[in-house]
Symmetry: C2
Subunit: 269 residues, 2 copies
């Protein structure tokens, strides 16, 4: 077994490089992203994704899941770094000695890599800005058996620490694609697919239509909802009943309520 | 019309007092909380809640909703503070000159104030720790026509700036109560009410039961779910289908998927 690499200095270039992955600019330059927590790292491993660098503290208690992860990292020629709790805190913001970090190569995000026939549901997010919402959409996508999440326009980075955390590991089980709206529509219309948008400008209740897989559930920006040209491009626009004072739901909640309706229809047929 | 009170100094005691309301300890001591943003302040006003102190910048553009709010604050003997963008940034973290802040008296949170017959759905959260989740639950509660949100045990503060923001103003339209589990169950069993918990330890699909209003939808802590004794106290435990690798949903998402199922049943009858 290859040995752990012990780092004791804050100014170590590897520490600086890992720390820099908290910033989108550096993630883009390095082509790598950072994941925190044994649970998410274990989900990633179960989905076949092993970090190229694993970081843990010299005071971490032994744990069979850490052992397994470490073996896999070594087996793939990766690096395991053991460091102080102080340095780990600098990297993660957490002073917990059990904190584990992984550095991963970027995942593919090309629309061409998406095989729409692989799943009956796909989520599509337009200019979603909150990393918690984006990660929660990935987590919901996993739960409803979606194939992945297609990000249109200026969405928040799915590889931020916050988005990965909110996804609870679904980042590694859902396919992710990034595209502009026009390229997405060209791709969509080159094959089967029902594009369903949630909107306030429709009277169609979300339980009224018969959804036909593959269903692409399109959710708009948190503050502005879907632009009219996106709505016009949808096969269907639908609305959830709103019984109170407000006229909208949280974007990740709206996506989930829609996605469970589609799943419920599909599992009845 | 009473005049605005102009504050120019960072060390002004009112500035310090308002700033301190970002901390739970100070909110508790003052019996007040802080709300940011014209949209939420307007929702509050529509629900009959006017801030005792309104803070805006000396560079804010005129806006009819700000005018209306200002009139109401003066009419109720409150104070309107005009200050610099720099001081407003200190108070809100935002350097936008359109930022508006309101200081409100605490809202009631006694279980005894809840009239369960007022709504067919009530949300109940056990040790929810994330302010975004708690606020999102309030927002969803408003949307499904719930009466309010009952917080059990050590939940995050519903009056934090983050929770109020995520509620999008539903904090002011939903009733809020805080209780320990035992007191809640005593209260619940003194009248009609079906307590429905989401759980991983059941085979009952969430679409199988007939929900009988008032339905109390119980959601557990983000990391641990519902404790077994809470599950045992439920009239029903149900689960959402999970088609992927993960075994759970985000707590606010799970609450919303459940709440829309109950609403959908109720609107069919």
């Amino acid at each position: 077994m290859t040995a752990r690499h012990v780092i004791t200095g804050f100014s170590n270039p590897t520490v600086k490089r890992i720390r820099s992955l908290r910033d989108k600019k550096h993630r883009r330059r390095e082509g790598r992203f950072l994941t925190e927590g044994l649970r998410i790292l274990t989900e990633a491993r179960a989905a076949g994704h092993v970090p190229e660098t694993l970081v843990l503290s010299d005071r971490a208690d032994p744990h069979p899941l850490i052992d397994a992860l470490e073996q896999d990292v070594f087996a793939r020629g990766g690096e395991v770094i053991e460091t102080s709790v102080d340095i780990l805190e600098k990297l993660s913001g957490k002073s917990n000695p059990q904190t584990v970090l992984g550095v991963f190569d970027d995942l593919p995000t090309s629309l061409d890599a998406i095989d729409r026939s692989a799943a009956p549901i796909w989520l599509v997010a337009q200019e979603i800005r909150d990393p918690g919402n984006l990660g929660t959409m990935l987590r919901t996508g996993d739960a409803v058996g979606a194939g992945g999440l297609i990000l249109l326009g200026d969405c928040t980075d799915p590889f931020s620490v916050e988005a990965v955390r909110a996804s609870m590991g679904a980042l590694f089980t859902q396919q992710i694609a990034r595209a502009n709206g026009a390229d997405f529509l060209t791709w969509l219309r080159a094959g089967p697919g029902q594009l369903v948008g949630t909107s306030l400008r429709t009277d169609t209740d979300y339980q009224a239509p018969n959804y036909m897989p593959p269903v692409f559930i399109l959710t708009g920006n948190e503050a502005r909802g879907l632009p009219e040209d996106y709505e016009a491009a949808c096969d269907l626009t639908v609305r959830m009943p709103m019984m109170g004072k407000a006229d909208s739901l949280n974007a990740a909640v709206a996506t989930a309520v829609m996605a469970y309706e589609v799943l419920n229809q599909l599992r009845r047929t």
